[in-house]
């Protein structure tokens, strides 16, 4: 990473023991750095693959929001549930989905996490309890509430954490879900990845009230977290997850972050809705990777050589994921009719297109 002067650097200089303050070990801090570098390089690889037509459709990158993913998901247990919207590649990685499976999904290949049938917006991994990848803004919020319902119903000690973009809080389903989670005190953590823009619409243009107030009418505690600060985010979610796990009730987090790329690969990075200067300034001052790098260097935990090694490793994993995806076969035509129905009833027709393949499938 190029050296940049950041506000965080100045702030961190005042901080005597940033790791100890958050109860984070050196090893864990380095792991977070490694993870975030992977997310950055992975998304850059996806960007590259999109540019040469290897990835199609919509592709929403998470570049700039790496600390939000690492800091909130890494403290969770393997059996905790994570659900998200459609900017979810790196969140899947954070929850343990293999980079090869995520990249192959972006490529629409057989070895993708959804067999090539979901694509960028629908990454699923039941084993990792990564519950998707959902494409309708806010649509996942009631779903994750239902997962919280199941946890309570079964008396388990896991949590259901759901991400949404800032625009999702204006959907009715968001408020319906928060109300129910509150009424039934479900173990849900509602996280707004607040990158300030719903596509090209600044949040302030579509809401008279502040983000942090959105859960208040529902009786759900609201928290503001600097999502560019990986250590603070990690420490916060570590403590919050334990609280929720032990009956603390649903929580709402305004996780403040910033997107360095356009809404999707088909959208410009800046333009009429935000200026080039704004984006450049954010990259300069709010790059989560640079912020953590500076803190760790200052604390003597990370040197340039190690950083470069870690970065090289992240690039290698991403390149290997792209190679894996490229080598993975396209899903065979037999996949077309597979998994429409979990249960093919012995009687009656389920497919109506009159094609012989569908008759065979049923």
């Amino acid at each position: 990473m190029a050296e940049t002067k950041t506000k965080a650097k100045k702030k961190s200089a005042k901080m005597k023991d940033p790791l100890g303050q958050h109860g984070i070990s050196e090893e864990l801090a380095l792991d977070l750095m490694r993870d975030m570098l992977l997310y950055r390089r992975f998304e850059e690889k996806a960007e590259e693959a999109y540019a040469i037509g290897k990835i199609g459709g919509f592709c929403h990158l998470h570049i700039g929001q790496e600390a939000a993913a690492a800091g909130s998901i890494k403290p969770l247990r393997h059996d905790d549930y994570v659900m998200s919207a459609y900017r979810e590649h790196t969140q899947a990685l954070a929850k343990g989905v293999h980079p090869n499976a995520v990249m192959a999904e972006l490529y629409g290949r057989k070895d993708g996490s959804s067999g090539g049938k979901g694509g960028s917006m629908h990454i699923f991994d039941a084993e990792c309890r990564f519950m998707g990848g959902h494409g309708i803004v806010g649509g996942q919020v009631p779903l994750a509430t239902g997962i919280g319902w199941k946890i309570k119903y079964k008396g388990e000690d896991t949590v259901s954490l759901v991400f949404m973009g800032d625009a999702a809080v204006n959907q009715g389903g968001f408020h319906e879900a928060l109300n129910m989670a509150s009424v039934w005190q479900l173990p849900c953590i509602f996280v707004v990845e607040n990158n300030e823009y719903g596509m090209g619409t600044a949040f302030s243009r579509v809401s008279r009230t502040d983000m942090s107030t959105k859960s208040v009418p529902h009786g759900i505690p609201s928290h503001i977290v600097d999502g560019q600060d990986a250590l603070a985010t990690y420490a916060f979610f570590r403590d919050l997850a334990e609280k929720v796990r032990h009956g603390g009730g649903p929580q709402f987090v305004d996780l403040q972050t910033y997107r360095f790329r356009g809404h999707s690969m088909s959208d410009p990075v800046s333009g009429t809705y935000r200026s080039v200067e704004e984006v450049e300034q954010a990259k300069d001052e709010r790059d989560p990777i640079a912020i953590l790098r500076d803190v760790l260097k200052k604390a003597g935990v990370l040197d340039q050589a190690t950083l470069e090694e870690m970065d090289a490793e992240a690039r290698e994993i991403s390149a290997a994921a792209a190679d894996f995806a490229d080598a993975s076969p396209l899903p065979g035509p037999e996949a077309l009719y597979r998994h429409v129905w979990a249960e093919i009833n012995p009687n009656g027709r389920l497919f109506f297109d009159g094609r012989p393949e569908s008759e065979e499938a049923s």
Partner: protein, 326 residues
């Protein structure tokens, strides 16, 4: 055989399935303390407790999505809509989430969930509370649609729907809840999805229908008998899966068919059935197939206008006469 109402039959099915599987729970508006808006869930709160019989807020989109998420995580929810008219608020979660989850996750998340409640018109409830909704659900691959017309079918099919591993829109009839009929005593009476039932046998014409309209069709068939016309009345019972074999069998026998449905004609269930019959049994047809549907208007309130809008036995008889060239 016990004689019971359609409502009691549904209640028995719910009770038996909840006893059988602790992962089955019922959620919806007024299902618990109020015993259900139509008393289908009467006594279930007392028997199973507030964890499994749950009064929801009036948040159709929200509690439908909650059910879908619970199903993703392994439960088997039964989500009650006070009526399917209100389920328009929730159809995003039925179509975009429930019906597609298994496919877009490549089989990782089966979706064993039932969405149930009354569909169609009752009496003078006017436009927003009087519509047959099955077509919206049968349109989407991934969603099964069941429309029982009798107490026995209600019980046997609801049990099958709850045990099915796919989302099922289970559409009842508000005017059927008090309808009495015989229900087999078998303590595990299940009717498999996808099997139509010949409710009346004749050889001259096939009246094919589903849901509440079987009663209109049977009325018509009885009147036609007096006139020397013997009609098959085929009750599809489930729209998806669809018992096409039974449809072809009756059409090949009578060579003439009428489709009766409660909903609107445009892209309705009848439109689908007619298209399939002409594709697969064209040479067996002696006349064009005629559809009897609701008038192609929103449901009016005034009693006389409502009567005019609804499909009736008279409309069915007219259609039968037409396909018989009488």
């Amino acid at each position: 055989m016990a004689v019971m109402t359609y409502r009691e039959a549904l209640n028995e099915a719910l009770r038996e399935e909840m006893e059988r599987d602790p992962d089955v729970f019922l959620m919806g508006e007024e299902v618990a303390e109020y015993d259900g808006a139509y008393k289908v869930s009467k006594g279930l709160l007392e028997e199973f407790g507030a964890q499994r019989v749950v009064d929801s807020p009036i948040s159709e989109l929200g509690f439908t999505g909650l059910g879908v998420g619970a199903a993703m995580a392994g439960l088997r929810p039964v989500i009650e809509f006070m009526t399917f008219n209100f389920a328009f608020l929730a159809i995003d979660q039925v179509i975009n989430s429930a019906a597609k989850m298994y496919y877009m996750s490549e089989g990782q998340f089966p979706m064993p969930i039932v969405f149930r409640g009354p569909t169609g018109a009752a009496l003078q409830l006017s436009a927003q509370h009087s519509q047959a909704c099955e077509t919206y659900y049968s349109h989407a691959p991934g969603c099964k649609v069941v429309t029982p017309g009798t107490p026995a079918d209600a019980k046997g099919l609801l049990k099958a729907a709850i045990r099915d591993n796919d989302p099922v829109a289970f559409m009842e009839g508000e005017l059927l809840y008090n309808f009495k009929g015989e229900v087999p005593d078998d303590d595990d009476f299940v009717i498999p999805l996808g099997v139509a039932d010949l409710k009346h046998e004749g050889g001259d014409v096939s009246i094919i229908t589903h849901g509440k309209m079987i009663h209109i069709a049977l009325q018509a068939a009885q009147k036609l008998e007096k006139d020397g016309i013997h009609a098959d009345v085929l009750d599809l019972r489930t729209i998806r899966p669809l018992d096409m074999d039974a449809i072809l069998e009756t059409v090949q026998k009578t060579n003439r068919a009428v489709y009766v449905e409660e909903g609107w004609p445009y892209a309705g269930t009848g439109a689908q059935i007619v298209a399939m019959i002409q594709e697969e049994a064209f040479d067996h047809l002696d006349a064009p197939i005629i559809r009897v549907t609701q008038a192609d208007v929103p449901m009016p309130y005034a009693k006389n206008l409502e009567m005019l809008a609804k499909p009736s036995a008279k409309h069915v008889i007219e259609a039968v006469n037409k396909v018989l060239y009488r």
